[in-house]
Each structure stands twice: as structure tokens, then as C-alpha cells.
């Protein structure tokens, strides 16, 4: 197969555009889930809050302003086809330049602090991006951007369980994470659960799980059943929209799993606020 040349300037332009549109336009699946939740919510205060969130998404899209002032850390997944030859400069630098331009020209908040161990200086352009690059078959580059807010990310957890704790232990770890988070992560939340791997991989699985569309079903029927069970248990907590009490604490639970060490049972829970902002492009 011939090698396809791709100028990294195209990567910069794509990342820039994704930063802006992800922050202005709530994905349709999330929007629809909020509308449905408003119908089903038991608490009058909860219905009022969900109504505000739908109206907020409408205003953001119409006025071309961010859905939330926390326009997030730019987390980017790049699947680079092995038949692509990237030319014109460094791929990593091109991605970061896209973030710099998108957060600048899009009037997005710069929320990245450097030297967190001491200075906590704002980098003023929202870089560096968190870049996960993988090599895949083909001659395309697929880029996915998540604008990950800090409030919900702070409520996430890593749980190194014993294999003997089994599914019951996993359920406890997930439900307990959401329970302790309470009103902090801006419920209704979306919960990404990673199971298996090592500590680095399990958290990555949990984050990737958040990219699934609300309403989609896991292809593995056992995991689909587990997702439904977790969602029911989380919504029984009563936390509700914004933690003010109600029946809608989570809009969805998504699980991703992979093999793990015979001694391990890693479970990561990545908490996502209702403003689940993400975009994907293929170059």
C-alpha cells in the first residue's frame, strides 16, 4: 500500500475546530438524554435544573459561547494509520498548536496550571494537551477531542480490588465513588468504568468509555447488563440533578474491560459532568 502524506497543519486546523465546536455544541445524544430526564425526573427542583441545562445548551449553540465556563483540559485521542506519513513538522506540536488556537480564538477559558507541585502558574493557552496516540491499520488519522472539566474529574477514583471481591466489589467501588461525589461533579453525571489492565490502562479505559453515545448498548450482553444494574443503583442514591435530590443522578454508565494480572482486579471510575463535550474527525 502506498504511503499517504498528511500535512500536520491539517491536524492543527482540525484540533482547533474541535476545541471550539465541542465547547459550544452539546452532542445530540447528551441533549436528548437531558430532555428525556426532564420528563422522567421525580423532583420538581430536579426538573427545573434539567430545564435550565437544556435551555443553557440552546443558548450556547445559538450565541456561539461555551456551554460551561470550565472549557476543560483538552484530552485528545489520535489513531494514526500506519500508512500515513505525517509531514510539515512535529505531530505533537501540531496538536498543541490546535489547542492553543482553539482556546484563544474560541474565547475558551485557559484552565491549565504548570508546575502544580509549587508555582501553579497558568500556561495561558490551555496547553499542553493530554495526547494519547495509537498506531492503527489504514491511511487515515482519526482525532477525538474531549474537553474534560476539573470538577467532575476530581471525583474520579482508582480501586485496586482483590479478585475475590468479584462483581459485588466492583459495584460497591463504582456506586461508592458516585455517592461520595454527591453534588460536586455537576450531576446528572455520565460514568466511565474501566475494568482490568494496569493502573495506567484501567484509567484510560474508563476515560475511553465516556466516548460512547448515550443510549448505546455494550456489545457484550453481560457487560450491558452490568451497566444497567449500575445505572439503577446510582439513580437510587437520590442525589439527583445538581445534588439537590431526585431520581436522575446519572444519565449513563459505560464499561470497558481488558485482561488483567492474575493477582489484580483494577477498577477505575471516571466521572463526567452532564456537559459531556467531545468531537471526532477523520483526516
Amino acid at each position: 500500500m502506498p504511503v499517504r502524506k498528511l500535512d500536520v497543519r491539517e491536524v492543527t486546523a482540525a484540533v482547533k475546530a474541535m476545541c471550539i465546536t465541542a465547547n459550544y455544541d452539546l452532542p445530540a445524544d447528551v441533549y436528548d438524554a437531558l430532555v428525556k430526564a426532564k420528563e422522567a425526573e421525580e423532583s420538581p427542583v430536579g426538573r427545573e435544573v434539567l430545564g435550565q441545562l437544556v435551555e443553557n445548551a440552546d443558548i450556547a449553540a445559538a450565541d456561539r459561547v461555551p456551554i460551561c465556563q470550565d472549557t476543560g483540559f483538552a484530552v485528545i485521542f489520535a489513531d494514526v494509520g500506519q500508512d500515513v506519513h505525517l509531514v510539515g513538522g512535529s505531530f505533537d506540536a501540531a496538536v498543541n498548536e490546535g489547542v492553543r488556537q482553539g482556546y484563544g480564538d474560541g474565547y475558551l477559558r485557559k484552565s491549565v496550571a504548570e508546575e502544580p507541585a509549587h508555582a501553579r502558574r497558568n500556561t495561558r493557552d490551555n496547553t499542553p494537551a493530554i495526547l494519547h496516540t495509537g498506531i492503527v491499520p489504514g491511511d487515515k488519522v482519526r482525532l477525538t477531542l474531549m474537553a474534560k472539566g476539573g470538577g467532575a474529574e476530581n471525583m474520579s477514583s482508582l480501586n485496586m480490588l482483590k479478585p475475590s471481591e468479584g462483581w459485588a466489589g466492583m459495584v460497591d467501588a463504582v456506586v461508592d465513588t458516585v455517592s461520595r461525589a454527591g453534588s460536586n461533579p455537576c450531576p446528572p453525571v455520565i460514568i466511565g468504568v474501566g475494568i482490568g489492565g494496569t493502573i495506567d490502562m484501567v484509567t484510560l479505559l474508563a476515560k475511553k468509555a465516556l466516548l460512547r453515545d448515550i443510549g448505546s448498548t455494550h456489545p457484550d450482553a453481560r457487560l450491558a447488563g452490568m451497566e444497567a444494574e449500575l445505572l439503577e443503583k446510582i439513580n437510587a442514591l437520590g442525589i439527583g440533578p445538581q445534588g439537590l435530590g431526585g431520581s436522575t443522578t446519572a444519565l449513563a454508565v459505560f464499561i470497558e474491560e481488558m485482561p488483567c494480572h492474575i493477582a489484580s482486579m483494577p477498577v477505575a471510575v471516571n466521572v463526567q459532568c452532564h456537559a459531556q463535550r467531545h468531537k471526532t474527525v477523520e483526516l
Partner: protein
């Protein structure tokens, strides 16, 4: 929900009358301050120096906006997680702070300080920054502009919607609301 209209600065009489679960609309001046600004405010108090705004009766809004587009008063402007300001809030209440607007859980120490100093904690809807920005009609950075989104700003708000979470009598909507809707499965 019928919202009660309140104006700032807040008095003890108004604060005592607010109960967990009350919907309010706030009109008047509130002060934007989050993590870095709180650290500096507390340092000024401890050094016995003057603050950039009058704390007596004041309401602070835990918020760091996105940049304003040309022609707009402010960018998106929803609440940030209040718990990060828990370490600083009791001292500010001791020096006259009457109201806090944010989202998320407070520590017992902060709730105790609210009872002791007659103060109130409101939740605004997190993630509704585009909607809430519509209620902000004036915006002037008054301290530490170098902090960017973390600077202190004097915000003029008009019918800003919020809900009383913690009142000065020990009421806690986060606890009560959750108990009311919790189910056994």
C-alpha cells in the same frame, strides 16, 4: 418554583429568613472569587491589610468565567466546586461575609461557621454558564488581574437564580433532598 427576590448586600434579617430549599433571585453586587483569590484574601486578612472589597454583608460567587466575546459583559459564568474554598470560608464569614454562591458539598466546619456568623450558602446550576451569564449585567475586575479567570471581579447581577442549600439554622438541602429521593434496590 416561586423564587424569592433578594438584594445585596445581605443583612442578618434576610439571611435568618432564608431556609434550605428556598429558590431565590439575587439582584445587586456580588464578588467573583475562586481558589487563588481566596488564598490572597485570607493572606490580607491575616496581615491586617485592607481587602479589595467591603466584606460586611457581601456575597461571593465561586466562579472563574470564560473570556468575554467582544460586546458581551462576561463569558460563560457558572459556579465552580465550593469545597475547594472551605479552608478559607470560615475566616471570611468571621469578617462579615454573608453569602456564598457555588456548587457542591461544604465541610461541617463551614456549616458551623454559617450558623455562628449568620451566613447562607446558595447553589447555582453547575454547567449552566451560558444561561447564568445572561443575569450578569456588570463586570469589573477589581483585584489581581494577573490571575486571569481567578481574579476578583465586582459583578452586577439581575435576578440571578440560585437555591438555598445550607441555611444559618443548620438546614442542608443536599442531605434532605437526597434522603427524600433515595430508594432501596
Amino acid at each position: 418554583m416561586a423564587a424569592r427576590k433578594i438584594t445585596t448586600p445581605l443583612t442578618d434579617v434576610v439571611v435568618r429568613d432564608l431556609k434550605a430549599g428556598d429558590a431565590v433571585q439575587i439582584t445587586g453586587v456580588i464578588y467573583q472569587a475562586r481558589d487563588a483569590a481566596h488564598k490572597k484574601l485570607v493572606a490580607l486578612i491575616e496581615a491586617g491589610e485592607e481587602l479589595p472589597f467591603e466584606l460586611e454583608g457581601a456575597v461571593v460567587y465561586y466562579m472563574g468565567p470564560s473570556p468575554a466575546k467582544p460586546g458581551n459583559v462576561i463569558g460563560s459564568a457558572g459556579p465552580t466546586t465550593s469545597g475547594r474554598m472551605d479552608a478559607y470560608a470560615p475566616l471570611l464569614m468571621k469578617h462579615g461575609l454573608k453569602g456564598m454562591v457555588g456548587k457542591g458539598l461544604r465541610t461541617q466546619e463551614v456549616k458551623d461557621a454559617m450558623r455562628e456568623h449568620t451566613a447562607v450558602y446558595f447553589a447555582a446550576t453547575g454547567g449552566a454558564g451560558a444561561l447564568l451569564a445572561k443575569c450578569i449585567v456588570g463586570n469589573e475586575v477589581i483585584a489581581w488581574p494577573e490571575l486571569g479567570a481567578e481574579a476578583v471581579a465586582r459583578l452586577e447581577v439581575n435576578s440571578f437564580p440560585a437555591i438555598v442549600v445550607n441555611d444559618c439554622h443548620g438546614g442542608d438541602l443536599y442531605e434532605e433532598g437526597r434522603k427524600q429521593y433515595a430508594k432501596i434496590v
